[in-house]
């Protein structure tokens, strides 16, 4: 008696299972969503950092858009670089155009020794909040606040705030040029610039648009808009707008003539071999006078 109950139950449930499986199979066939298998392949090639540097929501979002796109020339994966992008393009059988490797640079050298403090801020530790409240705790309304919004958004641990200078320092090895810090900085201080194979770069480390005297008064290493660099540049790479020099990284041949001529040391050179009289290799040039 009791055995037959077990038998019937097992049979009943098995039959139910088989019927359900058949129904589910046909339903699954009917509602099948076709997904391009290449999306998975492309995603596998990508770094998987989900940094958003490409402009899409994560690597999967990029892979999806990448497979569907007709023209891939406007797309790029900054953290992956040319190699990864070429591999991704290969999945689709397309040709990838190599792009110059980029790196973020901080265009402010206003450490406390160069910029005197005019007020103190003890509010919420966020540059974005501080900018809405006031111009900054130094005389320069353009300069870095040093509260580290860029550090918070960096997914690659490539930025830290230097304790003595109070300014962000970007690691050459870790920075993938995803651009998150550029978007996070409310003062628009961080810029993406071309990365020389050896990491050499020259840029104006200041965004102060005030006239010379005012800029100089608020910060000792400010660009005073004197125009010496524009005159000395043999490659026409430097332009002057609103009392502020800008070096076009596509035209700059890294000759370093402007660095020598800058009266306020506002132009920085990084990763160059040391010069004979004066050593200037670090992020913050130590002034000898």
């Amino acid at each position: 008696m009791s055995y037959s109950i077990i038998l019937y139950t097992v049979l009943m449930l098995s039959a139910l299972g088989v019927v359900s499986a058949i129904i589910l199979y046909f339903v699954a066939q009917k509602f099948k969503v076709f997904e391009d298998p290449r999306i998975d392949e492309v995603e596998a090639v990508l770094p998987g950092a989900n940094c958003g540097g490409c402009g899409f929501p994560g690597c999967r979002g990029f892979a999806d858009a990448f497979v569907k796109a007709d023209d891939i020339s406007t797309m790029f994966c900054p953290p992956g670089g040319n190699e990864t992008f070429a591999a991704a393009a290969k999945v689709l059988g397309k040709e990838a155009i190599a792009q110059d490797p980029m790196i973020a640079v901080v265009r402010c050298s206003g450490s406390p020794e160069h910029r005197s403090r005019t007020s103190t801020y003890d509010g919420a530790q966020s540059c974005k909040i501080a900018t809405t409240l006031f111009s900054g705790d130094t005389g320069c309304q353009f300069g870095c606040l040093g509260l580290g919004d860029c550090v918070v958004v960096c997914k690659f641990d490539a930025i830290y705030i230097d304790e003595t200078t109070g300014l962000p320092v970007i690691s050459d090895e870790k920075c993938t040029a995803c651009g998150a810090c550029v978007k996070a900085c409310p003062k628009f201080i961080i810029e993406m610039r071309k990365k020389d194979p050896k990491g050499k770069r020259i840029f104006v480390s200041c965004i102060n648009k005030e006239k010379g005297g005012v800029a100089k008064k608020s910060c000792a290493v400010a660009c005073i808009g004197c125009g010496k660099c524009v005159k000395v540049c043999p490659h026409d790479a430097i332009t002057m707008e609103n009392n502020l020099a800008y070096i076009d990284y596509l035209k700059c041949k890294l000759c370093r003539k402007c660095v020598e001529d800058c009266p306020t040391n506002a132009i920085l050179e990084l990763h160059f071999p040391p010069r004979k009289p004066k050593v200037e290799v670090e992020v913050q040039p130590e002034k000898t006078e």
Partner: protein, 444 residues
Amino acid sequence: MLKTFTKGGVHPPENKFSANAAIENLPLPKQVVIPISQHIGAPAAATVAKGDKVLVGQVIAKSSGFVSANIHSSVSGTVASLDAVLDSTGYKKPAITITVEGDEWLPEIDRSLELKKEFSFTTEEIIAKVSAAGVVGLGGATFPSHVKLSIPKGKKADVLIINGVECEPYLTSDHRLMLEKAHELMVGIEILKKALGVEHAIIGIENNKPDAISYLIKIASEYKGIEVQGLKVKYPQGGEKQLIKALINREVPSGGLPIDVGTVVHNVGTAVAVYDAVQKNKPLIERVVTITGKSLPKTGNFMVRIGTPISQLIEAAGGLPTDTGKVVNGGPMMGKALNTIDAPVTKGTSGVISFPEKEAKRVPEKPACIRCAKCVSVCPMGLEPFLLNRLSQRKIFDRLEAEKVLDCMECGSCSFVCPANLPLLDYIRLGKGEVNAIIRARKN
């Protein structure tokens, strides 16, 4: 019985040191800096050039839209420059700098102190006069008053509310104005009533100013349809929506305006400015400013010309004590710390407060929110500040919008009560800005 609003509210220490100091005229400064944007809305467009001679009351910048206001010269002298000048936040803002020479007024301004009760202007004439005089809300929000008086089609007001609450601690400028310019205030209210087409006006005053309540009740009996109502002391009762709830028990819908519930709210200072504009042809060129602080040698209330450097006001109060840690423009709850005391007094400056170093510092934050919900219980708008704070930090802006972050009026009650001293309002304000930007982008 005393009325008050129902939702939330806090009781910060009142510290109204300057309540008994009569309004004094501050001596004319050597130079005034008049920003061209002292109101909510489009900045005014300068109409003078460098070197021009101007008289007191002359228009120096014209309103550049409906929501904008004229700016008048508060002194007579020569325009020294039109360059941008550092404002109280440390950013450079366009302003008109005038070197003071004598004190010559435009001839059409009636400078006599005689009360002028009778008027026979139409609604349009009143609005035109208020608009020409550059009157803005003097409670602090500086919203152009003529806009509030122009009721949109299809809506109707049945009661005018006059805000004499002054719920911010320390500040006493409205209090003194009610005591010293009561008749001007009443005539101003009559004019506002006429412009809005209402019969009834209520003046709301917190009962920490019993002298003002009893005095105004006496004066109001001489006028028709003006009622004075005492209110329980509770911050932020001076908020428009809170005052409407307290006085006439109506609730302004989320995203709505007081006119949606049939009322318009004006500050007592604004009502007096409207009297000056309509009856005396005097534009808004000066205002009462409270200068106070625990360690200041002298506290007081001064009639200050717009554009006077705040440093001069501080001098009149005996100079900054050495232990000063912060000077705040406005009340201690909603005011902003000054970056420089050379910033000018503007139409929205109701007070300047100096705080000693140890009071000025923010108390260090504790590590986390423990969901005690104190902020929820004090929020006068019925929001959940702890949640808005977190959503803003995590950049979940669609949810932030759904949680009605735009209803926040930044009264700061949440930050005031937070036992962990979290900077709640800072992050909520940030979130508000982001949500506003998203909404603007959506419309375009």
